[in-house]
């Protein structure tokens, strides 16, 4: 370029042109990034708050799953803190050994679903149980915890007909009212048309327990609606990452090798303890997942566009 501009006078002009090119290149780069962000199909629920549910897996290893579930739950609790989100426990059922059987929490804040949507799925742990002195002799145990991430949208209201609900409380039998003074405030709600059941016993006020249970119920029903939408969408374009995210084994926490592997993007992190703190290490992995998903979605989007062009 510009080889003919070799005169002394023209050299200055060439220099100017190169400077200008540099600035323009930078601008093009920024615009590319912007274009990328605009083109990437936004997930409908990215801005939503989230209901996070954890259920410990069942293996013969006994409490290994439940200990792991507890650790994962605390990791997300810390991550919410790290992100300045609000983490409200809706339900927490511990085990006698100090593990966690299942739990649910409501996480609210800035774009919570965007960051947590790829956390749904089966998380696997491999470790030698810490209990017992002769751990060297013990074999490696494998356990799992299931994570479900439900977007909670205020925009789409799930209409729950009170007639469709069966609300169970300890008070169902007997006279009630002033005749009874009992303290069990636990509430269980069954949504009769779908059979979805939720429970809450976090509060001493029965009404607050009921409100929280209803909140969880509408999130669950909302999830069903989304899943119905999603299966309809799958016929036209397959969002493989999405369907994969809620069911398959997505990540392994190998304590023996002190390593976390995310199977979807073949990404590995050393130092499990740091990862479980739910700070930068987890955030970094989540960013990578987001990047990869966005790229994949964009490619699909463009392909769809191309086939549309060719077809039309």
């Amino acid at each position: 370029m510009c080889t003919e501009l070799n005169n002394k006078d023209e050299k200055q002009l060439r220099k100017l042109a190169f400077e200008e090119k540099k600035v323009i290149d930078q601008e093009i780069n920024t615009l590319y990034k912007k274009l990328f962000q605009i083109l990437v199909p936004k997930h409908k629920h990215d801005e939503c708050d989230v209901i996070l549910e954890l259920v410990s897996g069942r293996t013969t290893g006994g409490d290994i799953c439940q200990m792991f579930t507890k650790e994962i739950f605390e990791m997300y609790q810390n991550y919410a803190d790290h992100k300045s989100w609000t983490f409200e426990i809706l339900n927490y059922v511990p085990t006698d050994m100090g593990g966690l059987h299942h739990a649910a929490a409501c996480i609210s804040g800035d774009s919570v679903y965007r960051y947590l949507k790829f956390e749904g799925g089966t998380h696997r742990v491999q470790r030698i149980p810490e209990i017992g002195l002769s751990s060297r002799m013990q074999r490696i145990h494998t356990g799992t915890a299931s994570v479900v991430v439900l977007p909670q949208s205020e925009k789409v209201e799930v209409k729950v007909n009170p007639k469709d609900l069966r609300i169970d409380t300890f008070r169902a039998k007997g006279a009630g009212g002033q005749h009874v003074n009992k303290t069990d405030s636990a509430v269980r709600i069954v949504h009769l048309p779908t059979g979805v059941t939720v429970e809450c016993q976090q509060e001493r006020s029965q009404q607050l327990n009921k409100e929280k249970a209803l909140q969880t119920l509408s999130a669950k029903l909302y999830q069903q609606i989304i899943e119905r939408d999603r299966s309809q969408m799958q016929n036209t374009r397959k969002l493989q990452l999405e369907t994969r995210s809620q069911s398959e084994r997505i990540r392994t926490y190998n304590f023996i090798q002190d390593r976390v592997t995310d199977h979807r993007i073949s990404y590995q992190v050393r130092n499990i303890k740091e990862f479980l703190l739910g700070e930068e290490a987890l955030d970094e992995l989540i960013s990578r997942l987001l990047e990869s998903a966005e790229m994949e979605a964009l490619i699909k989007h463009v392909e769809n566009f191309k086939s549309f062009e060719e077809g039309g």
């Binding site: 006279a175 009212g177 005749h179 009992k182 509060e203 006020s205 607050l208």
Partner: protein, 349 residues
């Protein structure tokens, strides 16, 4: 490991009703606890006291044990304790405190009095014997009043569009029999444009409501005094003129049912707050007789009653056309029992 000690406490398992005998058992318990090896976690302690309560036939053994241990650890329920605080050993002081509170529960003291506090909706209220402990049903009574208030507000705003300046109307509410203050304070906190007059025939209740009002800094919109609707003059109830709403959870237990109530209620709660006379309507009738004098035109009365009462009250109102009151709705509680009455003043005198 604690469970292993239980069989040594043979005496605890025998009939516990005599409280004199209980004291010696508690002494036994304490001795065994201090001799117990190893750290004691919240879970251990809950299991331990649950067994003790069960052995002593204390109702809600598990719940009682969980509430007491959670309270000592600064949580409201066992389910809201984090996993780490559940497995952290309790200090000797904490164990001692659990022991002292559990000793009260062993005497059938209601858990709410044992802890000295309980929640009504989102308010944590002080509880002290013999002031009536609010029941969960009553939380729904508040929701009914809030609905009524929001409708009133809406119709006022609609009117204001056509007429004069849109000022939010002040809602004046009278509560008869305020007890711990649960209803009055809940309404004050949820309706910032309201003022509440609350009365109770027991000085202990008036004092407790005042303490609870101060707790939430709601006393400036609350007029609170000692008053018995059965004997005092109704003019005292109108420091601000006629009211928009009368609300009450009056004593409504039929007198013949009183003997069948649980020991927690009979031994600790003020029975006048429950005993509604032969038909359970002694105070209900009195409130309805006063209502036409106290209410503004088209003002409302909200009452919590026994499920047998809605029909009885409706019949009684028909026999008293001089009161100009009509039953506009009966609402069910969360168990599906007809529990709440909405009565309206229909005619201006």
């Amino acid at each position: 490991m604690i469970m292993g000690l239980l069989p040594h406490w043979g005496p605890v398992r025998v009939n516990p009703i005599k409280s004199a005998a209980l004291n010696s058992h508690q002494f036994l318990l304490r001795q065994n606890f201090s001799g117990k090896p190893g750290p004691v976690t919240a879970t251990d302690l809950v299991n331990y006291w649950q067994e003790v309560f069960e052995a002593n036939r204390i109702p809600e053994a598990q719940e009682s044990s969980e509430y007491i241990v959670s309270y000592v650890l600064g949580a409201k329920t066992f389910h809201s304790l984090s996993a780490s605080s559940m497995s952290t050993p309790l200090t000797a002081e904490q164990q001692e405190q659990v022991q002292q509170l559990s000793a009260k529960r062993l005497q059938r003291m209601p858990v709410q009095y044992v802890l000295g506090e309980w929640d009504f909706q989102d308010l944590t209220l002080k509880m002290r014997p013999p002031v009536f402990i609010p029941r969960p049903e009553t939380e729904d009574l508040i929701s009914l009043v809030l609905e009524e208030a929001s409708q009133k507000n809406k119709s006022c705003v609609d009117n204001a569009v056509h007429q004069c300046p849109p000022t939010t109307p002040l809602l004046v509410i009278l509560e008869i029999g305020c007890g711990s203050g649960a209803i009055a304070l809940s309404l004050l906190s949820k309706l910032p444009q309201s003022q509440v007059i609350a009365v109770d025939k027991e000085v202990a209740a008036v004092n407790l409501t005042r303490e609870n009002a101060q707790r939430f800094q709601l006393e400036h919109r609350l007029r609170l005094f000692h008053h018995d609707v059965l004997s005092s003059s109704w003019e005292q109830l109108l420091p601000w003129g006629p009211v928009d709403i009368i609300i009450s959870n009056p004593p409504y237990v039929f007198h013949e049912d009183m003997a069948h109530l649980a020991a927690e209620i009979l031994r600790y709660e003020h029975l006048d707050a429950l005993d509604g006379g032969n038909d359970g309507m002694r105070v209900i009738k009195r409130i309805l007789e006063l209502a036409p004098y106290i209410l503004k035109n088209y003002g409302s009365v909200f009452l919590e009653v026994d499920p047998r009462h809605p029909e009885m009250v409706e019949n009684w109102l028909q026999s008293r056309p001089d009161l100009f009151l009509s039953l506009c709705a009966t609402h069910k509680d969360f168990c599906g029992k007809p529990r709440f009455l909405h009565i309206q003043k229909t005619y201006s005198r």
